[in-house]
Symmetry: C2
Subunit: 324 residues, 2 copies
């Protein structure tokens, strides 16, 4: 399929074309990369705007069930929903948090849903670029909501927060002492904290946990991108599909306010700039992986190890003679 | 003073020349940098080998008192002792952990001691390079022991561990629960854990804490660079100068074993390679700070923010047209 054809089919919302386009942006081959860039360039200015929602939470908190139930609720409203996963650990472990669609069996059967596992990449920078580009493709394909799931570990959360319009943090009911366990930095990234498992025996505890978090949120400085009352904490039950409608309404309230005040577009512009700068840095460092650079690094490193050159001298020689 | 003269005086162990040489490596001026590199190159192969000891510990644990007492004990043995500090936060706070020699009044009066505060630098990479070069200068000046002090915060500890032959972690007596607070990564870097304040009311608690840490250390995998029994935990009292002689003997036992088995030289070679590679990366990224690059970044970022270029397109243009 040529680039023009692929572009037409992605814009028509064809799922197989979308899957193929994502495979293209995930590829490490130079010719694929060139085609991917041409495709992304061709898709620019399609005028569609999805709501990009980041979702984080530690394993066991119920992310898959939440996405399944929440996603089905949205498709039930006639919305097209894409789910992408960011799991930098999947490259090492070989398994992916979304490697198995059976985790979201009901949602994966919906014709208006599209689920894509995390790209297998060894470098966080590579995962970031490919996920961003997959988001752009899903948006061009006419998806209304794009959920970007990540595991609750530092760097990947910051990365996802830099790609989405809203950021949700899914939490489990907990004792008061455990509240401190949620890092302040992650609290500050979140727009809505969802305390899951507010059902059965855990319901009372979930309500208490929610109140604790609400109290903690009030201590944070008000952010310019938030209307009154945000960030906020709410309880949900993914298993019983409780509270999801209310959560969706809050997301829309927040998104509407940000659109009207210009924060929505402002944040996207900032994010684009952030990723441009990150890609330039990654691209510079990638020069060290070229065959000739690696050979020069190896031979200079040998001289450094033997004490013939100081690290500074060798670095200067490398930069001046081999990286110009 | 010309470079040749400075070199002669540093090799003669003149403290003022050493201080001047360190000021030179700390300077950001291009002509100073060139002179610093020439000096370091000229000093290569002086054949002297100091014992480089890294020391970390959170504020309040008694680092200054320990260095004062331990340093004086060493000068009392006729050894020449240099103390350097690494404090990446000092650039921001304006104050330095060693900005004030009055913290180590007794040691600073010793003619065989040399104390130097942390260089004021905004970038961790800059602090690293300057500290490494200061270590080289102290070694060339004939110091027998170089103590490199750092505050107990992640990145600066890793940095210091990559510059020293032995790494000490100073700890306070604590309840059993607090033991978890010491990050596993830092435990794994340490060669000797010193539980300080083993005096007065805290003595019993210090002994119990020491036993707890000794138990935790036994769970770590044995490292090839360690003889039987290392890493180890010991109690000391910096205030009463207790246990410091025993600690010094353990440091010597470890250093001797590593010298005999080749791990000492092997680690220095690895460290040199590590810093060579780090400097190459820093040097590549420094190209983004050149005036012309900054201007191009700004104008491309504006196009990205306006949606005229994708981050990927703009990055490619930057790399191909402005960073070659």
């Amino acid at each position: 399929m040529d680039t023009e054809d692929l572009k037409t089919r992605v814009l028509a919302g064809e799922r197989r074309a979308l899957a193929r386009a994502i495979t293209l942006v995930e590829s490490g081959r130079a010719d694929h990369r060139a085609q991917a860039l041409a495709l992304l360039d061709g898709l620019k200015g399609h005028g569609r705007e999805a709501l990009r929602i980041g979702l984080s939470g530690t394993p066991g908190v119920g992310k898959s069930t939440f996405i399944e139930t929440f996603g089905c609720m949205l498709t039930g409203k006639g919305l097209k929903v894409a789910v992408l996963a960011v799991d930098p650990s999947s490259a090492r472990s070989g398994g992916s948090i979304l490697g198995d669609k059976t985790r979201m069996e009901r949602l994966s059967r919906e014709k208006n849903a599209f689920i894509r596992p995390s790209p297998a990449q060894s470098q966080l920078g590579g995962v970031a670029r490919r996920t961003r580009e997959a988001i752009d493709l899903c948006e061009a394909a006419g998806f209304d909501v794009i959920l970007i799931e990540t595991v609750g570990v530092g760097q990947s959360e910051t990365m996802v927060a830099e790609m989405c319009d809203l950021f949700l943090l899914l939490l489990a009911p907990a004792g008061g002492d455990e509240l401190q366990g949620v890092k302040r930095g992650i609290m500050e990234m979140a727009d809505i904290l969802l305390i899951n498992k507010a059902d059965g025996d855990l319901k009372t505890q979930a309500l208490r946990t929610c109140a604790d978090y609400a109290g903690a949120l009030r201590l944070l400085r008000k952010r310019p991108q938030d209307p009154e009352g945000f960030p906020k904490a709410m309880t949900v039950s993914a298993v019983e599909a409780q509270g999801l409608e209310a959560a969706w309404q809050e997301m829309n309230t927040l998104a509407r306010w940000r659109r009207e005040t210009g924060h929505f577009a402002g944040r996207r512009a900032e994010q684009a700039r952030y990723w441009f700068e990150a890609e330039v840095r990654d691209g510079l460092l990638a020069r060290l992986r070229a065959a000739s650079a690696r050979q020069a690094m190896r031979s200079l490193a040998a001289e450094v190890e033997a004490g013939k050159l100081t690290p500074g001298q060798a670095a200067r020689q490398m930069l001046e003679e081999h990286l110009t």
